[in-house]
Amino acid sequence: MTIQFGNPDRPNSYIGKTVPRPNAKRLVQGRGIYVDDIVLPRLVHVAFVRSPFAHAKINGIDAAEALNVKGVLRVFSGADIAKVCTPWVAVLAHLKGLKSPPEYPIAVDRACWVGEPVAAVVATSRAAAEDGAALIDVDYEPLAAVTEMMTALDADTPVLHADMGDNLAFQRLHEQGDVDAALKSAHKVISARFVTGRHTGVTLEPRSILVDWNPAEEQMTAYHATQAPHMIQTALAKHLDLPEGRVRVICEDVGGSYGIKVHVYPDEVATAAIAKIMGRPVKFVADRLESFTSDIHARDHEIEAKIAVQEDGTIVAMDVDDWTAIGAYSVYPRTSAIEGNQVVNLCGGPYNFKHYRAKTTVVFQNKTPTCQYRAVGHPIAVAITEGLVDMAAAEIGMDPVEIRRRNMFRDDAYPATSPANMRFEGLSHHASLNKLLELMDYDGLRAEQAELRKQGIHRGIGIASFIELTNPSPFMYGIGGARISAQDGCTVRMDPDGSIVALSGVTEQGQGTEAMLSQVVAEGVGVPPSRVRVITGDTQVTPYGGGTWASRGAGIGGEAALQAARALRDSILEVAAAMLQSEQSKLDIRDGAVVDSATGEARMPLEELGRIVYFRGDTLPKGLPRELVQTRHYITSDYPFAFTNGVQASYLEVDTDTGIVKLLKHWCVEDCGRVINPQLVDEQIRGGIVQGLGGALFEEIHYDADGQLLNGSMADYLVPMAAEMPDMIIGHVETPTQESVLGAKGAGEAGTAGSPAAVMNAINDALRPMGAQVTEMPFTPERILRALGALKD
């Protein structure tokens, strides 16, 4: 199976081109179907009473008044739900030592964070359910709360879960080479403390689920805004004691996910349990306030790190001590140890050096649980690495570009293994950096910066190289015992009119998965993308798969689709050869018709072949295979992950009177292997950059010392908005993975991975002549002024 990807004039050349998104018009016209749009007969709504305390014993729940509210049907406590739903423990066998207590859909006798569900009120409308929820009288007995990350393991800090023995959820130490000796003998050792602010991925559509239990069929149907329908199917079946085959998860349109919607949430499982108990469809749509307390948080890290360099800029060692606090429970089923683990795996990633030590310490605290959010661990690891590299360059008086050039893995050095034991099939750090410098006119910008500095204008240029983990194999979750598929499948069929239907296990949350699949299938079969209908998000309909996360949609789902499409093409041509009394190898399918492959001469439209196969099969030779439905699955096996790489640059201006940072321009050159749809990839990168810029400058969840959430609304939690965003220039280098025909790696994490570090380095580049430096995100105006010593308290 070969496709001449290098030839843009090849027939059916849709892979590599920007083709229209099949769902764009529908969504723009407001014809999307989100969970909240779905209404079933006898539908009821649930609202949750959530703990106002970070840690409290629940002595009793009085629902009498709530039950008197018009429209309120029933109230459920944690114990009520526990009768039909087992708790879960979010650990993975390969994350050795990871522990977490059993977690119930609704807290049974103790609430462990502000926002944990404590009771559920079911009513004929959401408003009535909220009226009822406001009248539930919970007898709380406040307990001491653990809120400080760095003292969580101290002897005088209370233990959050007595059964766990201490507040340590997970610890991992990775050591390569002799770090202590390298630090001792190096020319310079630079140390820094980094902080990444706790934030969350604010989805446009909040978390939503509608669950219907049909007792006659003994089937549960969950309409769910999720990235992983099959994983949710498994979780609901397991904990509600149903056969997996009797749980159907349907995922229609989803309004953004960013990793937020790839987890099993207590309130969503409770909704399913209530549907089963009441025998009625139950809808739960999180409102924005409860999203901030119940959607997973992420990135709450404090890091002490060192880099050792020689006089010529050679990096000899890195030493990273990472701490993260994950809230009260490890999140099911992916666990909350992955982010810290990724920091260990990804620090130093672009660089070829010998001595590396990294430790992550993951602790419990009475806050909202944290888990995987877009670019899991990457922005933290890249900030540590690239921050240190810039500091080292400044220390030895070397240009930040030059120090990177001297240390990055050479483009011809692959396959290679990083000091963190990550295996790279093929990366392009130098080609990407060169392209970036050209796009941004690095020397010109440096000259402009110097000129403006004379006028008292403080501009900075920041560079950040990175590696990006995509296309995960079972090494990410499966080997740890989680039923999370690393394999994905696609079924492609031809209907009588010659149109093509593709059913895929990967999912669409607004990023264009279906557009990508449509063009891959179109090229694979030989029809225009407009003749391909893509169906995703229904566990009873599509092949089993993992869904869309960790940038696997194109690399895994796309390859399965390509192979299925090529298999269908072969099946069609086998029939065509019989009908046309030709050799199969001399025929091709182009633009929806069977043609002579040498001359391109049209031989037969696919409609005609469809008519014969489906309605006049009697005219075909007996025994001729006529399988116009083909399914293929794909899983990566040569490498645990398909690493990609890239480099970003930020140009900005710091107002040293106010501390305000103005982003002037941003560049990213990344290498996601084969680019299937340039516009979708560029926008994926831009969106990712924006989320990274949010973490760098704006987004931070604030808690007080008692564990109260202080900013649970869009007025107080600052997401990045258009007015503050810079123009973004995106470039690509393509190093296709050799593991697949398609050669695609992921692109979803790159933007978020590198932009916070690029901004940090640019701010520090601007501040360096004044002897100031910031390493605590987000870089608020106040933090910048404090670094400058401008505020006297």
């Binding site: 959401r126 931070e700 600052l718 990045p720 007015a723 106040e782």
Partner: protein
């Protein structure tokens, strides 16, 4: 969350609105553009309100001039304030302020009367009318009253409007030919409430300086004004610190706000001087 309103009625004139408020037994809330009230209701920060909708009362709309002042109806939307030629000519500070207020959708519905009656200490219009020396007109069943801006803002979200009264409009003295007006602020994002903001008016050699987001209510910085009148800008920056009483929140500490107030005052003075040259 879903709002939980106690009731809704639309008034066709001010008299009817006042009667509705009187009949609502203390639960009445005036609804104009709804850009703060509806958000608060949707978060159930306010429940059981009987909404008295004044948004269609014609006598509360429009901008008119007399020989020496402008009258701005309470229902004038922010967007209209921003584009109205009379306001641009005679109270340019308010036109400039609109550029700092929220986003287009909010500016289209939000009204100046709503913003003043809501009295958010971080909002632009309350500080603006304070700097401009405006008079606020309220009306109750007992008749109308005029309240100088200096007396109108009393505390965080608290004004001199009595229960059962409605803010009907404001009057602003027309700017003199040599008058300079400016507003400046610092916010984390375009359209956010300011971390600190300054309104500065120079009228016949005398200054009026008001600040927002640096105290529980907009502040007329009288000590700094006296320094400015003397021509001592650095003295004004120092004196300013006694005029303001900022608090700390998740966006900024009081210390940072105090620093910003001084920076913004210098910038406002520079703007006015630049315009005068």
């Amino acid at each position: 969350m879903k709002a939980s309103a106690g009731g809704y009625a639309r008034a066709s004139d001010v008299r009817q609105a006042l009667e509705m408020l009187a009949a609502s037994d203390g639960s009445g809330r005036v609804l104009a553009g709804g850009q703060s009230l509806i958000a608060a209701m949707n978060m159930r920060l306010s429940t059981g309100d009987i909404l008295v909708d004044i948004s269609r009362i014609e006598e509360l709309a429009g901008v008119r001039e007399t020989s020496d002042s402008l009258w701005i109806g309470a229902l004038t939307p922010h967007a209209e304030i921003g584009r109205n030629a009379l306001i641009r000519d005679h109270a340019p500070l308010l036109s400039q302020a609109v550029g700092f207020i929220a986003h287009a959708a909010i500016r289209n519905r939000g009204t100046i009367g709503g913003a003043l009656a809501h009295a958010d200490p971080a909002a632009e219009f309350p500080a603006g009318v304070l700097a401009l020396g405006a008079t606020l007109h309220v009306e109750g069943l007992d008749g109308p009253r005029d309240i100088p801006a200096e007396d109108f803002f009393q505390d965080i979200f608290e004004t001199a409007i009595d229960d059962g009264e409605i803010l009907t409009g404001i009057s602003i003295p027309k700017a003199a030919s040599d008058e300079r007006q400016t507003i400046t602020e610092v916010a984390r994002r375009s359209g956010d409430y300011a971390l600190a903001g300054v309104c500065l008016v120079k009228r016949s050699g005398k200054h009026r300086l008001s600040l927002f987001s640096v105290a529980p209510k907009p502040v007329l910085a009288v000590q700094a004004m006296a320094e400015l009148d003397r021509g001592d800008i650095e003295g004004a920056v120092r004196a300013l610190q006694a005029d303001i009483d900022p608090s700390s929140d998740t966006q900024a500490t009081a210390t940072y706000r105090r620093h910003l107030a001084g920076i913004l005052l210098r910038r406002a003075v520079a703007t006015i001087q630049g315009e005068s040259e």
